[in-house]
Symmetry: C2
């Protein structure tokens, strides 16, 4: 599963993601902040291998644009999907899900939060090791 | 001005951009289409060296996320700005502007069209060679 591609970093890593909502290390760089006329918040997120965020929802929906490495994405009640560079994930408003890196590869995506005036994210509980490793065990 | 960075292509090139609205060759790959709940259209655009689009406006605004090469961006009445990897441009609704590659480098950006129900683009006249080369002559 180790990625062999050459990384062509587009953005600096930004701020460390909050430990309450991420298991492992991730960095978030805001590209377009809250409160603009675009009603859209955009950030670049880098996940270290094994890192994932908690289960959560986005009141206004979110689009993930995958730019580097190998990641995981799971919607409540469905199996984990593997994400690689060039994948685009459309996450409807209020759908419970999580995302992060796969166990052996760093993973980077751009996150586009639409309808940001409705709120950006509602955090829920952590993704357990059993849930995270369910992909390898399927 | 030749870029020496290694290109790490994220998206396939997509469809050739319409010659009526682009001077030179560009390719557009749609990542999120019209008509979704996100009210946001996202595309990846690759410009060959020297290629630029016509003067135009976006009724709902547009955000450019630059991912490769060296590009140009100009707002009406202002000098050309040079764009490189990692630059993010916030283009307000109805602001007349154009963008494209610099003369000697390919250029790639992701374009995020917000409030897409208001319409994506109003095309205007071509960018003349004199306008395009005004940067080098400043």
């Amino acid at each position: 599963m180790q990625t062999s591609e050459t990384q062509n970093v587009i953005f600096a890593k930004g701020e460390k993601a909050p430990a309450d909502y991420f298991t492992g290390n991730a960095w978030v760089k805001t590209l377009v902040p809250k409160g603009t006329a675009f009603n859209c918040v955009i950030a670049n997120v880098v996940f270290e291998p094994g890192c994932r965020n908690n289960w959560h929802t986005h009141p206004g929906g979110q689009i993930l644009i995958c730019t580097y490495g190998i990641g995981y994405y799971q919607e409540k009640g469905k199996p984990i999907q593997v994400l690689t560079k060039g994948d685009v994930v459309q996450i409807p408003p209020d759908l419970e899900h999580w995302h992060g890196a796969s166990p052996d590869s760093e993973f980077t995506h751009i996150a586009v939060n639409t309808h940001s005036d409705k709120g950006l994210v509602n955090w829920m509980r952590r993704v357990t090791d059993e849930e995270y490793h369910s992909f390898a065990n399927e």
